[in-house]
């Protein structure tokens, strides 16, 4: 007893955690009820903040009519296309920079300037180059997502234990099999972290580009509704995109745990 000063809380019993999670739901419900009451009592202008019931009703209407579904799908298509392109190009550049000095020399300063800079400033230029359609939006998503991916891939592949590669070579693996069997799995946790930073960015940027250049999608839907002063619809857009974002990010987290089920990060969490 005396040799240990680490004091941990006793593990919560099952009933205690059940009470906690139901308390959480109850509190969430409680906040929504307060919101509903303050709007209905007239303390808040429903134009500025519509009641939750009004938002729910309007969401249901738009879901039935299907317009919001197609806008959501369009936004997701743009975000995913840009994200996947950025992943492919970013992982390639990151691996190149970790392997070749010249590639590192070339990309390092560009990434250090480009990573924190607000790339969205290029949007009017991209519209000039690619027009108002999907291309300009997807190109902007690629430009915004690529820097965290390059940087994470570089850090992941550059820090691989050399002995792993030497042992694989000793065992007679070809160069390509070394890349796929050793380098990629060893760098995977960091690459996934880069992708996890880039993915929410792809949604943020898609929505912004849709607002700036119109052309449908959830961003377009919201900015059109705001211009026509249909505040309920703006909140429907926020509600839908928040739900989509929540579900996708939770899914991404599960995917990470599945891909890394062999890794100590996952095992220690059990």
């Amino acid at each position: 007893m005396a040799d240990s000063v680490v004091i941990t809380a006793p593990p919560p019993s099952r009933t205690a955690s059940l009470v906690k999670s139901s308390a959480r739901f109850a509190l969430g419900g409680f906040l929504i009820v307060i919101w509903q009451i303050t709007v209905q009592a007239g303390w808040i202008d429903p134009y500025l903040l519509p009641a939750p019931s009004a938002i729910a009703l309007r969401t249901a209407q738009q879901l039935v009519s299907g317009s919001i579904v197609s806008d959501t799908l369009l936004t997701l298509y743009r975000a995913f296309s840009g994200f996947l392109l950025a992943a492919v190009i970013g992982i390639s550049i990151g691996t190149l920079a970790a392997r070749y000095k010249l590639a590192h020399w070339f990309f390092d300063p560009l990434v250090s300037i480009g990573f924190p800079a607000p790339k969205i400033a290029f949007m009017p230029l991209f519209v000039l180059w690619f027009g108002l359609g999907d291309q300009a939006k997807i190109a902007m998503v690629v430009l915004s997502c690529i820097f965290p991916i390059i940087s994470a891939t570089y850090l992941g592949t550059a820090s691989i234990d050399r002995y792993l590669i030497w042992s694989a070579r000793n065992l007679g693996l070809s160069q390509r099999r070394i890349v796929w069997k050793v380098v990629v799995p060893a760098a995977l946790p960091q690459i996934l972290s880069g992708l996890q930073i880039a993915f929410p960015l792809s949604l943020i940027v898609t929505v912004v580009t849709e607002m700036i250049t119109a052309g449908g999608g959830l961003g377009g839907y919201m900015i059109m509704s705001a211009r026509e002063a249909l505040s309920e619809q703006v909140f429907v857009g926020i509600f839908v995109i928040a739900t989509v974002g929540y579900v996708l990010l939770a899914g991404f987290d599960r995917l990470r745990r599945h891909l890394l089920r062999w890794h100590t990060e996952t095992l220690s969490g059990l």
Binding site: L48, P118, P124
Partner: protein, 268 residues
């Protein structure tokens, strides 16, 4: 890590080395500029699609001389700074409160877990409805965009504080507030600062987006305005300014981080 006062000669040599290192480091940027200029001169790039570096430089000199660039940059910087500072103060207070007070955690956690993954840019239209065209809608966009990252990083930082430190401070007679100020805040500072750094990049994205979308002042507005009037060289000069300010503010913050955490390297 001991710095020894150097004779002038050695100091100059080191300075020259540092300058030389910086030049080599940024050489790829210069290389790209050169290729761009040559391509423009060879006529491969139409001036309407991408103005040459020379034309951009001339435009940059004009807007610098007229004071227009400085004026718009000042507006944007003020919006950025007000939004960021207020979100850092509010976010750190909320995050630390959540870590130390049970009911605050119970009340706020469900709200934050639902709102955190939301693409923050979705809030811009509602902020325009609430606050209109002026400064307030942009400051609010920066504030709301940065708030949750700061809340979460301060919560994680304050939760990770070694309870032994808190108990020792309490038993030495520190008040509850004293513990917060002297123990919890410094211990959580590294996490808080890295949260702010993430928020900083996001805040520039949101600010420029909001200004591009609907504004009557600011660098984002300037980019949109010259794009619409077809003066692409001036537009490009404004774009470069925004990119450089964003990158430079991150570099500045890194130095600030290193400076405010300098006590950490002493003990270990």
């Amino acid at each position: 890590m001991v710095t020894i006062a150097r004779r002038d000669g050695a100091g100059l040599l080191i300075a020259a080395n540092a300058i030389g290192g910086t030049l080599v480091y940024y050489a790829p940027v210069a290389l790209l500029l050169l290729v761009w200029e040559l391509a423009a001169r060879a006529g491969w790039l139409s001036a309407e699609l991408l103005p040459s570096p020379e034309a951009t430089y001339a435009a940059l000199r004009d807007v610098l001389a007229s004071g227009e660039l400085a004026q718009q940059a000042y507006v944007s910087l003020m919006r950025e700074l007000s939004g960021l500072v207020s979100s850092v103060i509010a976010g750190a207070i909320i995050g630390i409160a959540m870590a130390r007070i049970e009911w605050a955690r119970l009340l706020l956690r469900p709200v934050i877990t639902f709102l955190y993954p939301m693409p923050k840019s979705a809030l811009i239209p509602i902020l325009l409805l609430w606050f209109g065209l002026g400064d307030m809608s942009k400051i609010a966009a920066v504030f709301l965009g940065c708030l949750l990252p700061v809340v979460i990083s301060s919560y994680n930082g304050a939760r990770g504080v070694d309870p032994l430190l808190v108990w020792s401070a309490r038993s030495l007679g520190a008040s509850k507030l004293g513990v917060l100020w002297k123990i919890v805040l410094p211990a959580a500072l590294p996490d808080i600062l890295s949260g702010i750094r993430m928020a900083l990049a996001l805040s520039w994205l949101l600010l420029v987006s909001a200004e591009l979308l609907l504004a009557e002042k600011g660098l984002g507005y300037m980019i949109g305005y010259y794009g619409d009037t077809g003066d692409y060289a001036t537009m490009f000069a404004a774009i470069i300014t925004v990119i450089l300010i964003g990158a430079f503010s991150d570099r500045l913050f890194l130095h600030l981080m290193a400076w405010s955490l300098r006590w950490r390297t002493l003990s270990s």
